[in-house]
């Protein structure tokens, strides 16, 4: 297992796309956090009660935003780790070097999880740093922030890992780079967005809408801002429930994907 794991890390770190995607998404998320949110749109001094509650979650909101953006990068990087193998047919080497296909898939999952963990930690650090830098540059001041950083980081990392596993899942099932990337972009937003028009309150039980609940800002004074904000059309779930709903979907899909990875021709 260790050789396979080391090889997956080496693959991840010796292709240009890993660095290009990581950097582009970091720059984009950094710009959003520093300029758009902290510099231009920081909360003003006169706030309603609800806006005040929201202002107390300003940093949390920015971390959520940056992690949302970077989770797409994590998903893409995870997807490309296997997509390149099929596209350039190096999968034949990977599979013959190991005596179990399961080891190969497990090594890929672990490598991706470690990379995404580090990437999300970096994202959180950048989000906090750039938020305060932007506020400082614009001269805005925030009310005391009500955020349990450890819990929130855990949620953000869960969100990032979830997207990475989704990217890897799509390429394992589809085995085509373009198709898997399209699925990664279309299913969570477009498809679920359209389905939510039909499902209304129950939309929140769709996998990616449930996942989004995980990183909703926490409850303040017994009132969940997310619940208040949650447009009544999509419903609301607590973070643990959202995580469980998503995990149920992804676990089911991975059972199918794993079986297919073991059984299908390596092409």
């Amino acid at each position: 297992m260790m050789p396979a794991l080391k090889a997956e890390f080496r693959k991840l770190l010796t292709v240009r796309s890993t660095y290009v995607i990581s950097l582009i998404f970091l720059l984009f998320a950094g710009f959003l956090t520093f300029y758009v949110d902290a510099f231009k749109n920081a909360p003003t001094e006169t706030l309603s009660a609800l806006d005040h509650a929201k202002a107390q979650l300003f940093v949390a909101g920015n971390i959520t935003q940056i992690s949302n953006v970077l989770s797409v990068a994590g998903g893409l990087i995870a997807l490309l780790l296997l997509a390149h193998e099929y596209r350039y047919n190096t999968i034949v080497y990977t599979l013959t070097a190991s005596n179990r296909r399961s080891k190969v898939l497990a090594a890929k999952i672990l490598a991706v999880m470690v990379y995404v963990f580090l990437y999300q930690v970096l994202a959180c650090a950048i989000a906090i740093g750039l938020t305060f830098a932007g506020l400082h540059a614009s001269g805005h001041h925030l009310p005391p922030q009500d955020i349990n950083y450890l819990t929130f980081f855990a949620k953000v990392i869960f969100y990032g890992e979830a997207f990475a596993m989704t990217g890897l899942l799509f390429i394992t099932l589809i085995r085509n780079q373009v198709g898997a990337i399209a699925a990664l972009f279309i299913l969570p937003n477009t498809v679920e967005g359209l389905l939510s028009l039909l499902l209304k309150q129950n939309s929140v039980y769709m996998p990616f809408m449930a996942l989004a609940q995980v990183v909703q800002p926490p409850v303040i004074g017994g009132v969940s801002v997310a619940a208040h904000d949650a447009s009544h059309s999509t419903g609301y779930l607590s973070a643990p429930r959202g995580a469980l709903v998503f995990l149920a979907y992804i676990a089911g899909a991975w059972i199918v994907a794993w079986y297919l990875f073991l059984r299908r021709d390596a092409t």
């Binding site: 090889a7 350039y88 190096t90 599979l95 070097a97 021709d265 390596a266």
Partner: protein, 304 residues
């Protein structure tokens, strides 16, 4: 020894490999021949567990998955361009070495062996087909495996490269290791391989030595005598097929001894008697006749 037993693979309605069984022995280079679409590549993939079919393949009595480190058992080259185009040649091999638990120092060794040391840092996406083949061969021998399974490794190599490959594979096999190599270059195969396995439409047609394969092919004898008409009469009486050629007769499916005796019994003076030995190409074409998946129609004019 690699032993394949009843390999079978079906793609929807098409049977690509049909109960194929053969052995690849150590100490020998085994050629794998067959027309396009005969199932050579699919067979190799089945042998490696890359395709999902039926049948078994064992390496020294055990399936590949029974070995802790398969890279030490078999090295493969199934496609010349199987590499990430922007990962350098050295990094490509380093990834494979890591996966196969092979020391990274071996990477430079194999780059030296295949003559790619100078371009080790280059991205292989711009490599010629010949250079890609060399990189593929380097990947195959990385773990110093006991067996090599190579699909068309000579494609794209220049004459020097082909000569090098021929000698390399012979040397490799001579160290009590086995090599299975497919090729369309029959002249190359005749110089490279000790044994040949010929398949057509997924079925085994022949599994023999090169000499045995050629010997199995129909042979002919060219004979010239002082009286051709008498010889023709004698051949007709003996029910032998012949054609006129270069002032003599070319007699099919016969040995020189028989023609010599026939001429003697007809009291003819033999001026020339030559066995026309078949080439590997001729033998191959005869063996695989009717089993080609794709066949050109030379009589049809090209439509403008």
């Amino acid at each position: 020894m690699i032993k394949t037993d009843n390999l079978r693979k079906k793609f929807r309605q098409k049977l690509a490999v049909d109960n194929l069984s053969f052995d690849v022995h150590t100490g020998k280079v085994t050629g794998f021949l067959g027309p396009n679409g005969a199932g050579k590549s699919t067979t190799m993939r089945l042998m490696l567990g890359l395709d999902n079919g039926t049948g078994t393949t064992t390496y020294d009595g055990k399936p590949l998955r029974a070995y802790a480190n398969p890279s030490k058992v078999v090295g493969i080259l199934l496609e010349a361009k199987a590499f990430h185009p922007t990962r350098s040649a050295r990094q490509h091999l380093a990834v494979l070495a890591t996966a196969g638990n092979v020391p990274l120092s071996r990477v430079d060794e194999v780059l030296d062996i295949v003559g790619l040391r100078e371009v080790a840092k280059d991205k292989p996406g711009k490599f010629s087909l010949g250079m890609s083949q060399r990189l593929g061969i380097a990947a195959a021998i990385l773990g110093e495996p006991k067996y090599l399974i190579l699909d068309e490794p000579a494609n794209g190599l220049d004459p020097e490269g082909i000569a090098w490959l021929r000698q390399f594979l012979r040397d490799y096999a001579s160290a009590d290791r086995g090599v299975l190599v497919s090729s369309h270059l029959l002249s190359e195969m005749s110089q490279m391989a000790d044994n040949v396995i010929v398949i057509g439409k997924g079925k085994l047609i022949a599994n023999t030595s090169i000499k045995g394969l050629v010997a199995r092919s129909s042979i002919a004898v060219f004979v010239r005598t002082d009286n051709l008409a008498t010889l023709e009469k004698a051949l007709k009486t003996a029910k032998l097929d012949y054609t006129k050629q270069d002032g003599g007769l070319l007699v099919a499916d016969v040995k020189t001894d028989e023609i010599g005796k026939l001429a003697n019994s007809a009291k003819l003076t033999v001026l020339e008697l030559t066995a026309q030995t078949a080439s590997l190409e001729k033998a191959f074409l005869e063996l695989t006749e009717g089993s080609e998946e794709f066949r050109a129609q030379p009589d049809k004019e090209v439509q403008s």
